[in-house]
Symmetry: C2
Subunit: 538 residues, 2 copies
């Protein structure tokens, strides 16, 4: 039993599952053992560190409140320090398919539990890649949100400035659903009011111009994944990965590791009897005497590299990299525990340092190994990353992505050139608007043709008592700032205001200055595309 550190009795779990209700009803949840779950010990992979929390971590509480049922606490690289899954006194967690191989870590048990179906979803944490590397090696989805949008209350800190709570799931739909629930629970960081709620239809995706640490087979797998993205409509550009890799090295090789001493160093010093993993203990103890001014210098260097990296991503919607560069055997890690671990973090370590968000998704195989890619985006562009990840997996473009549950958005109903596929739709998608289905007005409106270029419909309300038409439109969700920016650029005679819909609601929609609505009445066609198809427009 290396996957689980603590497991609840099957009967208890079954009883709760049978009664669970909510968005996650019937979903079995694994919780990484550095995240508090009321009634179960939190060990962080060190038996002597154990304590019994009397309440759930914020993330656990949110998932439970939505119907998820905790199965147990999962094994991890001790104190969440590692990317391999072998650094645990409970034993190395094995790959779900090939027992001689590593699971990846530090959220080793959580990833394997989802891969084997012992849990439907699992909570992980991620500082250097712990929510992504094991997802990649186990062929499942891992979402690492923007720092601070999920509360870390009740999580044992690893490197507190960069710690994140993550979700593992077998597919993007369930991962998005669980993230939405967790994010709605709490979070210390406010979503900006101009956040993009969707990737553009044909996103610009950067890939590294070189792929260090990957062998020929793994490179071929990456090229194939990029090929699928291209086929799906992404425009691929290359980016110099050097500043990203330089920051990655700072995470363990520099002074940043001192934050790990701040987290659990005093415990390790005070308890020489504790079952501390040799490698983990060395890393953390060595950080005790790093002077603060060196930490300041390294943080400055991270900021400098971040500025260079972000400038390189100017005009890019997302960066796609291999999640892990290889899949080592357990004995290979034992032979070189620090070296192999360090190479495993090549494409993950920089992410949290650069305040990026990430979605790891399966992308075929490399020989006998599962191959995975990670889609990274700027802070708060979690919806962009989720959409590009869906594109990469050839899933249907998801109707919902998790930031919709939390980012403040407003809606705009459109009838003409801003319908999905219309000639002016880029004015909305450039602002991060998300298509959200069809809508029909109350039968109180009139549609006529405006003499604009491109041609547009004028939607005006008929006077009380007059006969009107029910008109078909599209609904877009967008940030408040996007709506304000869109309005500020909107030319006459278009106006925006409330329109009545068939369900009796009044929603923000396109209207028109009535003095301009003098063109042919095309209401009878019921929609602008129908009027065009009938040859009724210009």
């Amino acid at each position: 039993m290396t996957v689980w550190i603590t497991r609840r009795p099957d009967a208890d779990v079954a009883a709760e599952l049978s009664q669970s209700t909510g968005l996650l009803a019937g979903i079995r949840l694994g919780v990484k053992d550095n995240v508090d779950t009321a009634g179960l010990p939190t060990t962080a992979g060190c038996p002597e560190f154990a304590y019994r929390p009397d309440r759930d971590a914020a993330a656990v509480a949110a998932l439970r409140a939505a119907g998820a049922v905790v199965v147990g606490k999962t094994n991890l690289d001790q104190f969440a320090t590692g990317l391999v899954g072998t650094r645990s006194p409970h034993g190395a967690v094995s790959d779900s398919r090939r027992p001689d191989y590593i699971s990846g870590g530090s959220s080793s048990g959580s990833a394997v539990a989802v891969a084997t179906g012992e849990a439907d979803i699992a909570i992980g944490t991620d500082t250097a890649g712990s929510g992504r590397v094991p997802a990649g090696l186990q062929g499942i989805v891992g979402i690492k949100p923007t720092l601070g949008v999920i509360s870390t209350d009740g999580v044992v800190p690893a490197c507190e400035s960069y710690d994140c709570v993550t979700i593992f799931a077998p597919n993007l739909e369930l991962a998005n659903r669980a993230m939405g629930v967790m994010a709605a629970g709490a979070g210390d960081r406010q979503w900006p009011s101009d956040v993009r709620l969707a990737a553009p239809p044909c996103p610009v995706v950067a890939v590294p111009s070189e792929l260090p640490e990957l062998d020929r087979e793994w490179r071929a797998a990456f090229d194939a994944a990029v090929g699928l993205l291209t086929d799906a409509g992404a425009r691929i550009v290359t980016v110099d990965i050097a500043p990203f890799l330089a920051a990655a090295k700072l995470l363990y090789d520099g002074a940043l590791v001192s934050e790990r001493y701040a987290a659990v160093g005093e415990f390790i010093d005070a308890r020489p009897d504790a079952t501390v993993d040799l490698t983990v203990g060395c890393i953390i103890s060595a950080a005790r005497d790093i002077p603060a001014h060196r930490l300041m210098r390294d943080r400055r260097e991270v900021n400098r590299l971040r500025a260079v990296a972000m400038a390189a991503l100017d005009g890019v919607d997302a960066l796609v990299v291999p999640t892990a560069p290889m899949h080592p055997r357990i004995d290979e890690v034992a032979a070189d525990p620090v070296g192999v671990n360090s190479r495993m973090g090549t494409y993950t370590n920089f992410c949290n340092l650069f305040d990026m968000c990430a979605v790891a998704v399966p992308a075929g195989s490399a020989g006998q190994a599962q191959f995975g890619i990670t889609v990274l985006a700027r802070a708060f562009e979690d919806a962009v990353a989720a959409d590009v990840a869906a594109l990469a997996t050839r899933d249907e473009a998801p109707v919902d992505v998790w930031p919709q549950a939390v980012a403040h958005s407003v809606e705009l109903m459109v009838f003409g050139a801003h319908l999905r596929g219309g000639p002016l739709v880029h004015q909305l998608t450039d602002l991060g608007a998300r298509w959200a289905g069809e809508v029909t007005t109350a039968p109180r409106y009139r549609m006529s043709v405006l003499p604009t270029v491109p041609a547009k419909p004028a939607i005006t309300r008929v006077p009380d008592g007059a006969a009107g038409a029910a008109l078909l439109g599209h609904r877009w969700l967008l940030s408040p700032a996007a709506l304000g920016t869109f309005l500020a650029a909107l030319p006459a005679p278009m106006q925006l205001g409330k329109v009545e819909f068939e369900d009796g609601t009044w929603r923000t929609a396109f209207g028109c200055d009535a003095s301009a609505a003098t063109g042919a009445d095309i209401s009878a066609y019921g929609s602008w595309p129908a009027a065009i198809a009938a040859g009724a427009v210009g």
Copy 2:
């Protein structure tokens, strides 16, 4: 000559002044000697540290480009470490009025140069209060903007995470003008798209429930300043100042000071021959061996205190405190250099740690001393702080405040209930909208009365060729998110779109669903208030 460390020849300055053009034409500028100015040495108050920069700091370059002329480099507490103005090998800078008294620091020379009129404006820096304490003691204005909105390129770091470039000026108008120029130049931090561009008409202002370190006379001066604010329409509430003061103590008494070692510690260690102020040298050298994990712990504590403090300010627009708690003599500082300095920072130290912005303004006198107050607001609410500062000084409410030069804003023209003083204007001012004058439409519009509560005008464009009226309205500036939020809440039949104005421009303004515009035509009155005054509205 303790005010100036380096002074340019008068003839050079005069020649440049006579030819200067731009927003700051003819303005004489003093530059604190830790800010690079091409052609003059940067010493940071330590002769052996001196170097000759070959280009201006970004802030200096921006002011010069707008016409300001550099007079020279001003004295400072060495390495910007101190709030007293006595810690300089060039000698203590004296108060501009009473030579036995301190100037305040660390931007000592800059503040005194402006107080005496040797410069019209001066650049300071501020980490713990260096841009505010000397403004308070010298009876001038000091603006300490939100961290990161003015570039610190070319500034010798003091405690880099919290360093700011500031402006001293004799009045708010000039200070706002100079800040706008500096801010337009650069800055690493993006303004949020929901930023408030104005304080509400009757702002909620918090004051400390207790005033430690102030004697009876200084308390009376503070009470008088608060009384003026009340008279000007502010609603005063009290706040527990304890978490603010607790953070203040961490700035020097904890591990945060290690960042000062990171800045200049290696220079001090390497140059035992350098003329280092004894107190400054002790503070910085003592920070060399502070371990990084202690710094992490103190930063966590700052974050915790910040959360408590910000919660206490919930619903509050600005916090007003005394700028300094007293005005010591130079010999009093000499007798207890660390103790007096520490007390001087009581009401300033917490500001940058909590990511707040501040405006220090004169507020009468306390006995023979100048008395000053500081208005603090949350990050990016610099416009709110500037407006409350204007209220406190009984200046005319400024038409412009400096964030307008940089924060992204859009405009909305209104004609009825959202005119300044109208019954629905709070819908705009609650979102931080800023009144920006009167406007008149092209003579192409019609105004009628809508049967709404409260009554509103319907503005509709007349058909081409028909006779229309020129209508008077008001212009508001607001953030894109504010405009989007306003539109999303706007009820039918109101609509927003482009209206033509008398200067031929088309600007975002109120329109109306024409099917609802069936009320009495009141266009002849020319404005909604005129129609109301004439009894033409319901």
